[in-house]
């Protein structure tokens, strides 16, 4: 008998089992004479597929609930009347099912005949030709003629909707299976599509029967993915034809870490298809990963190494060797002149683990200091600090899948539908199934209210008051005795708890005392605390709205406290879950990118750890932490820090207080930028190493759930070198030899030196698809849920979380608070997404301002508004919206010319220096022209582009 019980048993992601997996007690039945055992709740269709018996189908697909509309999957069941559809009929013990016989064949063929009587017969010129389920099923059922003819009523004259930049909708090819509508509802959770009308007039419609682009469509591509015909089709496929081979890889946008199947013709990516076998995304995607990959071959890619003596000199295109020699000489000269500590590096959260590892190794081994930092400094460094202090590990506690077990979900300072869309879809699915939601955010994010989602509470706190919020919530739980004392007694450090309890019980931490500072009523705070504490499983998801504050680390500890207090750790459905911004923030942190930590979060002062690396690398490593990014910038300004190797980050745009950053960069004697575009930082560079996009290299990314996923090369690096190869060459030029033949060898070194990674290898990754660290002898299959039996640090530690208001306060001079965030279509500094059609959704960063404030200031929609802080000023176009509360304004930072970070200050987290991006006191004024900085920035950009163009022309001369 075939055994198919274990619901977690991995299935072949290439097979469509027709209906989703079920989890029930085993039931056995006979299908076509074979006895099969499957979990109760499984459909007959799935049971048959598990036994490799394929039943024709069109409306069924295993990412969607059974629908039962196409009537091709009919079967016969002994003792039952009629022909039930196998997708909607669940298995029962002892059923005897026939899936193929002449009667079924006749009905199927006749149903197919009806379909084709309203379908164009242009298979040979159809974009789906060769990859069309309708075509396949017509073949399977043996359709040979359409006796109805083609003169009857039909939809063949329907006009295609080509409004969307990435896909077209050709209703003439639609079979009204509703897969697209259901995918938009069940998978994505946007409900942008519907069926318009009924009966034969039924047709798929976006919104109120309007062009896709005008509808609520968020372009996730789930509908395109679900379509069994050419109705919804990527324009690239329409233009280029079906791809001929594919490679499974991991998306390079955001911390969700979706697996994609890159489908290619030769080395040209035709489309990116979310991969069902991807554990993080399970076949889902968002507009960025799915469609916005064109930047990889954008004409602005720089593919030749370049050097120059001064930043006002034209770039010189050179060979890799020349560039390496030039860069190495400069670094060594600086070190001779200013000391070995005068240089450093910044690793990239967008590059692979292996590349990041190599950069920090280069800094430690070739530069010979600990001056390495990464962009997590400016996003999630407080997460690392706060979680390490309380729980013992600098990472989130859960797998994304865990959200499916949560009863209450608290989202703090995160905007998942924009920044982590694929996870947001999973979260919304859980909300539709009945979980409750609490949102803590100054701004009304989409999750607060929308189709089939309504937050139980929106705690609309003022920017900068997070710690007051978390303290108030904890206070209520203690005050009302809602804590999980058994959990605390068993799992936590009781002395620390007693101290913390005394602190948190103080009246100044009561909601009644903090309500005014928060701008949230005490009743609401108490109710939210009860909802969280009384949930069976309560999970917290948070983002940069937690970390990017002067008390970012305090807030992270407060969150961990709250979870420990209520016993919401150590199992599925609970936990503390940082939503990581960039694709490999987690990995970059894991790889020892911090000046104080070696790979695996081990302090450089730990002799034993240091010695391991020293013996492996054959160098001495300093026991003192090196410089953090802000220290590097300060050092550059003061003249002690002169050389920087910056890989795949654009600190000139992304770091706060742009004036300060620019001044620092101008002061450097050698700035080496490695990137795929001449980004803002590169405008100050002396050496440019052309980077490779994620499509051009092998490696791994680690997502927000500690999942290490393979990145696989689908095309040759345009510059001839992947980033790891460039770093290696640079190290060799510096005289420290590196000689890896393949990134798998780098991973082998990482695994040999890092206990939490010891079980990781490329071979395992190929076998398993992905692995969640810790992955070692203690957890050979990885660790989806952390802290199960005990905390990594032993006993959970309640840290005191005193609320100290930020210095960024509103006053008469700066009466508004500016806070920043992201938008769905764009990614981070926008370097990638701005070079795709995504630009159409967000051509400029806008300043969101409440209607009341706008009226007071005489500002109309689209007016130019000066935003001035004590750090600087910029001018943005206004968007009047009640998403923001009065007194608070909001913008995004996806466009360099917006200068959002000209305004942000150099305030930062007390523990980690993570900048306080989220709170800046500003003054607003309606103006007529751009700011001085913006004017200067434009001129500088024009100069740099012309210096670049000269290099390009010179390059042309060389090749001519």
């Amino acid at each position: 008998m075939l055994q198919y019980f274990d619901p977690k048993q991995r299935r072949n992601p290439e097979i469509d089992y027709g209906t989703p997996a079920a989890q029930g007690v085993p039931v056995s039945l006979t299908i076509d004479g074979r006895t099969i055992e499957v979990p109760e709740g499984t459909s007959i269709m799935r049971a048959a597929m598990l036994a490799s018996i394929k039943i024709p189908k069109l409306c069924a697909t295993d990412s969607l609930e059974a629908f039962g509309s196409c009537r091709l999957c009919l079967v016969q069941i002994e003792g039952r009347r009629g022909l039930p559809s196998s997708c909607t009929t669940p298995v029962e013990q002892g059923l005897v099912v026939q899936t193929h016989n002449p009667r079924l064949a006749l009905v199927r063929r006749n149903v197919m005949e009806l379909y084709i009587s309203d379908h164009p017969l242009d298979c040979l010129t159809c974009p789906a030709n060769g990859n069309c389920e309708l075509q396949d099923v017509a073949g399977e059922v043996g359709l040979r003629a359409v006796r109805y003819g083609f003169e009857g009523e039909n939809h063949l004259a329907a006009e295609p909707d080509t409004s969307h930049p990435y896909f077209s909708f050709d209703a003439s090819k639609c079979i009204v299976c509703s897969r697209c509508v259901r995918a938009c509802e069940e998978v994505q959770g946007t409900f942008a599509l519907t069926i318009d009308g009924r009966g034969f007039d039924s047709k798929v419609a976006a919104g109120q029967d309007e062009p896709f682009l005008d509808s609520d469509c968020v372009s996730c591509g789930a509908c395109v993915q679900a379509c069994p015909t050419a109705t919804l089709m990527e324009k690239t496929v329409v233009e280029q034809g079906q791809p001929e081979h594919s490679v499974i890889t991991t998306c390079a946008y955001c911390g969700v870490g979706c697996a994609f199947k890159a489908e290619l013709k030769g080395d040209q990516v035709v489309r990116m298809v979310p991969y069902k076998g991807g554990a993080a995304n399970q076949g889902h995607s968002c507009v960025k990963g799915r469609f916005a990959f064109g930047y990889a071959t954008h004409k602005e890619r720089v593919t030749t190494p370049m050097i120059r003596d001064r930043i006002d000199a034209p770039w010189q295109k050179v060979s890799w060797d020349e560039a390496m020699t030039f860069a190495a000489n400069r670094i060594r000269q600086i070190q001779q002149q200013y000391g070995s500590e005068s240089v450093g590096g910044i690793t990239s959260s967008r590059c692979t683990n292996e590349e990041t590892y190599l950069v920090q190794k280069l800094v430690r081994a070739a530069f010979g200091n600990n001056n390495v930092d990464t962009c997590a400094r400016v996003c999630h460094s407080p997460t690392g600090y706060g979680l390490k202090a309380t729980l013992g590990e600098s990472a989130g506690t859960q797998a994304f899948e865990s959200v499916e077990q949560a009863d209450v979900i608290m989202v703090i300072g995160a905007n998942p539908t924009d920044a982590h869309p694929v996870f947001a879809s999973r979260l919304k699915r859980r909300l539709r199934a009945g979980a409750q939601l609490i949102v803590a955010d100054p701004r009304r994010i989409d999750l607060v209210s929308g189709p089939h989602v309504q937050a139980r509470h929106h705690l609309k706190l003022l920017p900068g008051t997070n710690v007051a919020l978390i303290n108030a919530l904890a206070h209520v739980i203690i005050d009302e005795g809602l804590q999980d004392q058994a959990f605390i007694d068993a799992r936590c450090d009781l002395e620390a708890f007693a101290r913390w309890r005394a602190f948190i019980s103080e009246p100044r931490n009561a909601p009644e005392a903090l309500s005014a500072a928060l701008g949230v009523s005490s009743e609401t705070l108490r109710s939210a605390a009860r909802v969280y504490a009384n949930a069976g499983n309560a999970a917290i998801y948070y983002g940069l709205g937690v970390t990017e504050h002067s008390q970012g680390s305090t807030m992270v500890m407060g969150i961990a406290n709250l979870a420990m207090l209520t016993g919401n750790l150590g199992r599925e459905g609970v936990g503390v879950n940082p939503l990581r911004g960039q694709n490999n923030v987690q990995g970059a942190c894991d790889m020892g990118s911090f000046p104080h930590e070696l790979p695996g979060y081990r302090h450089v002062s730990d002799d034993r750890v240091r010695q391991t690396f020293e013996s492996n690398w054959g160098v001495r490593i300093g026991s003192e932490p090196g410089l953090r990014i802000p220290n590097m910038l300060d050092g550059a300004i003061s003249g002690t820090y002169k050389g920087l190797y910056c890989q795949g980050e654009d600190i000139a745009q992304s770091d706060p207080n742009t004036h300060h950053v620019e001044a620092a960069l101008r002061n450097l004697d050698c700035l080496i930028v490695q990137d795929i575009f001449l980004n803002e930082t590169a405008k100050y560079a002396h050496v440019f190493f052309p980077g490779a996009s994620f499509l051009e290299k092998d490696g791994t990314f680690t997502n927000a759930e500690r999942r290490i996923s393979p990145v696989r090369r689908v095309m040759q690096p345009l510059s001839g070198k992947a980033d790891w190869e460039a770093t290696m060459a640079f190290s060799n030029a510096l005289g420290y030899p590196m000689n890896y033949q393949h990134p798998s060898e780098i991973m082998a070194e990482i695994a040999s030196l890092t206990p939490t990674f010891s079980g990781v290898s490329y071979q395992r990754l190929d076998e398993e698809g992905s692995l969640q660290w810790p992955c070692n002898d203690a957890a050979p299959s990885g660790t989806p849920t952390m802290h199960v039996d005990q905390f990594v640090r032993g006993k959970g530690y309640f840290e005191r979380t005193e609320f100290i208001a930020t210095e960024e306060k509103v006053n008469r001079r700066f009466p508004f608070l500016l806070t920043t965030g992201r938008i769905l279509s764009q990614y981070n500094v926008g370097a990638q997404t701005r070079r795709t059609a995504n630009i159409g959704w967000h051509e400029q960063d806008l300043l969101e301002i409440h209607p009341q404030d706008a009226e007071d200031l005489g500002i109309n929609d689209s007016d130019a508004v000066q935003v001035a802080s004590r750090a600087g000023e910029t001018v943005l176009a206004a968007r009047i919206t009640d998403r923001v509360q009065p007194g608070v304004v909001y913008t995004t930072f996806h466009h360099p010319e917006s200068g959002a970070n000209v305004v942000t200050t150099d305030n930062s987290d007390w523990a980690t220096n993570c900048p306080e991006y989220k709170v800046t006191a500003v003054h607003l004024k309606k103006v007529q022209r751009p700011s001085e900085w913006q004017t200067a920035h434009r001129a500088f950009t024009e100069t740099q582009v012309s210096l670049m163009t000269q290099a390009a022309e010179q390059g042309l001369d060389e090749t001519a």
Partner: protein, 706 residues
């Protein structure tokens, strides 16, 4: 292009408040859409985003729902909306002529508005006025029978008609010191109102008042002897005496004859009502009170054994109630004939804190009107039946899903619910017990498919009325996925008598596995159309001749369609089949909801077969392929068969294809709509093949001109 007048734009300012208030109710979308259409005459496109935001839906979802239901419109209609019934009963009595006349007269087609903006013309599939067809509805008033002359008269008086008439009002009934007065019963239900009963009542009242006559009027629903309506009844010591039909013009002479003194002298004297053979030969159990009492009078209801069943049920255990219903042999009267007790048992056995009773009052089958009569003439019986069902399965909430076409029934039900709750027959602590039950009426919006139980549930939840696959059964996962009893109006209205008189009493009627009585509705081309409740086992022929009195036209009866638009057309050879679910099933026919539509010899069965497919195409939810595409192809293939320019072989191929298509629809459809549409088609082909050769005849004539 004409610029829109800003003054014409709907003022949506208070829509968010309305949505917020109505949105408290579960599945509020349809009630909200009705409220907006009531106010604006249509659903303004710009209101959709407001509704979506208020209900946590997407714009697309709301749009999908609006576009699903034929009743909802997104552009303003004409001042008056005239809906002409296009269903079988009306077809059998000149409906097609009326349709053609109306189009020609107005110069517009269906779904169009006259250029002066006065009249919008729409088709409608059954108004429940099948005993007096052809019917039409102007705004909310049903009229019938309407011939072309009557239509022209309607147009002539349309200008004086209020397009937004006030809802029906409670009429004073039976004064308190009625003892000294003679009681005169004047009917009141949709069909009798269509026949002029309200005008008759008004004229009677004014004459009684001015003349100071010793008469008090009681409005009593209808007995269902529609061929005699408006039928007046006088209460006498010997029983009620009937006169009819009495039109407005007859009122003065009627009163002048002082019928309470000399009843038999009146020319329209019918004798004792109960002795009229049409009624006397019936076995009225479910309809025992119908037409006898003021439908909204609780004392009258109680005086006629009302709430006896409920009082008994309140003293019983749930399983005892269910057993009583099971033992009565009562089967679903909506058409599927599923044993009611077994359905209830499933719901009782499914553990859940929340369960529902849903009354299916979406009586869409042409030729059927018994549900309407029941709700309009004895609403408390429906309420009592639902309450007993709630006690039986542990549900405390009930919904009556009523078709939009039945606005008078809606008004009666709402009024009855108010009164029942005020008198503690509903609500908290029913009759002092610790049991509670609440009922709400929800209006459909012009979708036949919502009579299918799973589509009905979707609609109640505020969605498009798309059929759900079964399993899961609604009894286990029904309304909002909770265990749900869904029964037809008649089924639930029969429950009180089962409880009051016991299972054995009810089971004593009927034959075989068809126990009890069937309220048959005689409709179409019959001399004596009306309601006949009778024990199972009588033959169709008895109904047609003894009750129906032969055709209205006087021509021979040629075909009878039993069980609504999905029922087979039966030729004379089948009329001796006894009324029995199994006997009908054996000949690929069905009793269904008990509608009997009679066609005389002028009927063209190829046209009727074509209509069956057309109806399916119009009313298909569009979910499953055999129904969605098949119905349209069905119409086309029949057209091909009937086309004069066909070779013999091509015609035969088309007939074969039609049979193949029917087989595909029967075997492949998701629900009974697509699965049974072939029955009228196949029965027409089988029993009336000559009608499908008319194209051939024309072709032959053309080839051989005389």
């Amino acid at each position: 292009m004409k610029q829109p007048d800003l003054n014409d734009l709907p003022n949506l300012a208070d829509v968010p408040a309305l949505v917020a208030e109505m949105g408290q109710r579960p599945g509020a979308l349809l009630p909200i859409l009705h409220a907006l259409q009531d106010r604006f005459g249509y659903i303004p496109e710009t209101s959709i985003v407001l509704i979506a935001q208020g209900l946590n839906l997407s714009r697309a979802e709301v749009h999908g729902v609006v576009s699903f239901y034929h009743f909802f419109r997104t552009s303003p209609p004409g001042r008056h909306v005239i809906q002409i019934c296009a269903s079988e009963s009306c077809q059998a009595t000149g409906g097609r002529t009326l349709e053609a006349h109306a189009r020609r007269r107005l110069g517009i087609d269906f779904h169009e508005t006259t250029p002066d903006g006065e009249i919008t013309l729409e088709p409608v599939y059954c108004l429940g006025n099948c005993a007096c067809s052809p019917a039409l509805r102007v705004n909310r008033a049903v009229l019938g029978p309407v011939d072309p002359q009557a239509f022209d008269q309607l147009l002539a008086t349309l200008g004086s008609r209020d397009p937004h008439p006030k809802p029906w009002k409670i009429e004073p009934t039976g004064t308190t010191d009625a003892g000294a007065l003679v009681k005169l019963y004047v009917p009141r239900d949709t069909t009798t109102i269509a026949l002029g009963a309200d005008e008759v009542a008004a004229r009677l009242q004014s004459s009684i008042d001015t003349q100071g006559l010793p008469v008090t009027i009681v409005r009593n629903g209808s007995r269902g002897l529609y061929y005699l309506e408006p039928m007046l009844e006088l209460e006498t010591d010997a029983g009620r005496i009937a006169f009819g039909p009495i039109q407005v013009a007859d009122v003065e002479t009627f009163l002048a004859s002082k019928p309470w003194l000399h009843p038999s002298k009146h020319p329209d004297y019918l004798g004792l009502t109960e002795d009229i053979p049409f009624l006397k030969q019936q076995q009225r159990l479910t309809f025992s009170r119908v037409g006898r009492i003021d439908p909204l009078s609780l004392p009258a209801y109680e005086a006629e054994a009302g709430f006896v069943g409920l009082r008994r049920a309140l003293k019983m255990l749930p399983e005892e109630i269910v057993r009583e219903v099971t033992e009565s042999g009562l089967r679903g009267r909506g058409g599927a004939a599923f044993p009611t007790g077994i359905k209830w048992q499933t719901v009782l056995d499914t553990p859940s804190a929340t369960k529902y009773i849903v009354c299916n009052a979406d009586e869409g089958d042409s030729g059927t009107y018994a549900d309407r009569m029941m709700m309009e003439s004895d609403p408390f019986a429906v309420i009592e039946g639902m309450t007993i069902a709630g006690l039986a399965v542990g549900a405390d909430r009930g919904y009556i899903y009523l078709r939009e076409e039945y606005r008078y029934a809606e008004w009666v039900l709402d009024e009855a619910l108010k009164r029942a709750e005020a008198a503690h027959f509903l609500g908290q602590n029913i009759l002092g017990s610790d049991q509670s039950f609440l009922i709400e009426v929800r209006l459909g919006a012009g979708a036949y498919i919502c009579g299918e139980e799973t589509a009905l549930l979707e609609s109640l939840e505020g969605k498009r009325g798309m059929v759900r696959p079964k399993p899961p059964l609604p009894a286990i996962h029904g309304l909002w996925q909770q265990p749900t009893v869904i029964n037809n109006v008649l089924t639930l209205a029969t429950v009180p008598i089962v409880l009051a008189k016991g299972a054995a009493y009810y089971a004593d009627f009927g034959v075989g596995r068809s126990r009890g009585t069937l309220p048959v509705q005689l409709a179409g081309n019959l001399k004596q159309a009306g309601l006949v409740e009778i024990g199972f086992g009588q033959t169709l022929r008895t109904l047609l001749t003894e009750f129906g009195g032969g055709s209205r036209s006087g021509l021979a009866i040629r075909a009878v369609q039993v069980g609504g638009p999905l029922g087979a057309f039966l030729p004379a050879s089948a009329w001796d089949t006894p009324l029995d679910y199994e006997a009908f099933a054996r000949m690929d026919a069905m009793l269904g909801h008990g509608g009997v539509v009679v066609f005389d010899e002028t009927v063209d069965l190829s046209e009727q077969a074509r209509f069956a497919m057309t109806f399916c195409a119009v009313e298909s939810c569009g979910k499953c392929t055999p129904c969605r595409i098949g119905a349209v192809r069905g119409v086309e293939v029949i057209d091909k068969i009937m086309s004069p320019v066909q070779t013999q072989a091509a015609r035969q191929d088309a007939v074969d294809l039609l049979k193949d298509l029917c087989d595909t629809m029967i075997a492949g459809s998701l629900c009974a709509m697509g699965g049974m549409t072939p029955y009228p088609v196949l029965s027409a082909l089988e029993h009336f093949p000559e009608d499908f050769r008319r194209g051939e005849v024309i072709a032959t004539d053309a080839m051989n001109p005389v």
